[in-house]
């Protein structure tokens, strides 16, 4: 089983590969380490890093993917965050926007609260849960070549993508994004919708 493998991917390297040459990509980053990982690659107006709303990242990605069907949308989140919102996999499962990708950086721990083990450390398989929820894609990723393929699939927009990437449970230096909610929201909407963002009726 993948969770017993010795060599784990570096989450910052994974984020760098996923966000490389990002083009039109819209990113929702789950609270904690995934938000720091996305920010470590580079703060970007089309990142929406979460500082709360645990369990909501996938549903935010769904709302965004429905609103913007021509843009690839990536939900980059952690195992704890995904575990809290597993129902949202079923919600995505019956909808499956072609432009939505959900990528879980699974370090099998709650990193922000003292590195307690999460359910994935004890065998809970989120990729299988995604498949069981009706998603056509649900892959367990342990190799960097798979991450490269994942990035390609994300931009291809040929169907909802779900991947659970096993990463090392390292405590890395923080890379904090802005935390002012209206700023994060407004810069995202302005970068996406232009000045019309402020005049929406």
């Amino acid at each position: 089983m993948a969770s017993n493998s010795g060599q784990r991917l570096d989450r910052r390297e994974v984020a760098k590969v996923l966000l490389h040459d990002r083009g039109d990509l819209l990113v929702v980053a789950g609270l904690g380490a995934p938000a720091w990982d996305a920010t470590h690659v580079g703060d970007h107006p089309l990142n929406f890093p979460l500082w709360g709303g645990m369990g909501g990242a996938t549903a935010i990605g769904l709302g965004l993917a429905i609103a913007q069907p021509m843009r690839p949308v990536l939900v980059l989140t952690g195992d704890g965050e995904m575990l809290m919102g597993m129902g949202s996999l079923a919600t995505v499962g019956i909808d499956q926007p072609a432009n939505l990708s959900i990528v879980v950086l699974d370090n099998e721990h709650y990193g922000e609260t003292g590195m307690q083990e999460s359910h994935t450390a004890r065998g809970v398989d989120l990729a299988a849960a995604a498949l069981a929820s009706g998603l056509k894609s649900g892959v367990m990723v342990t190799q960097m070549e798979q991450v490269i393929a994942l990035r390609k699939a994300m931009h291809a927009m040929q169907g909802t993508v779900f991947a659970q990437i096993k990463v090392a449970a390292d405590k890395l230096p923080l890379a904090l994004p802005p935390r002012d909610g209206p700023y994060l929201k407004n810069r995202f909407r302005e970068a996406l919708l232009g000045s019309q963002a402020y005049f929406q009726k």
Partner: protein
């Protein structure tokens, strides 16, 4: 008799250019749900729990879509933490909540959350209006939709069981 309030609310959705309608079903909303389902311009999102609808509204608004959330009062409790995102990011959302646990309730298990729904929403900075008569529903919904999307905040309408009829648990 005038048209059912569901028709009026559906018309409001069209006037307000609502694009995403998320819901956990409730009997009180069944007519409105049917009207929305029949409209290909409205994207229906069926949730497993109401808090997903709050998160969905965040994503929808980031992408330029207005959304509304339909739920029963018991679902209000499921939304509490997720509502912080609307408050902290100033994101608009209209919520239409059909009540349980008020007028004529049969099921004691529905009463605690029904009684707490308004307080809980207000504590999370949601503007709340109650409609206790059929004639009040559409104006209340119009006010909630307008204030939500004009002032970038969540607003809820609680539609009382006096309007909906209490569930009787008879065949």
């Amino acid at each position: 008799m005038s048209a059912h309030w569901s028709e009026g609310i559906y018309q409001l959705f069209k006037q307000q250019s609502i694009r995403q309608v998320s819901l956990v079903p409730d009997a009180g909303h069944s007519r409105l749900i049917k009207l929305c389902e029949a409209d290909a311009a409205l994207r229906m999102v069926r949730l497993t729990t109401e808090e997903e609808g709050i998160a969905l509204a965040v994503g929808a608004w980031l992408g330029g879509d207005k959304s509304v959330l339909l739920m029963q009062s018991s679902g209000v409790g499921n939304c509490i933490n997720m509502l912080s995102m609307l408050q902290v990011c100033q994101i608009p959302l209209a919520m239409l909540v059909t009540m349980r646990g008020d007028w004529g309730e049969f099921n004691p298990w529905q009463v605690p959350m029904g009684r707490a729904a308004k307080t809980v929403l207000e504590e999370m900075d949601v503007l709340v209006t109650s409609a206790q008569h059929e004639d009040e529903v559409v104006p209340a919904a119009e006010g909630a939709l307008r204030i939500a999307y004009n002032t970038y905040r969540p607003a809820a309408v609680l539609i009382g069981q006096r309007v909906l009829g209490a569930k009787t648990f008879t065949d």
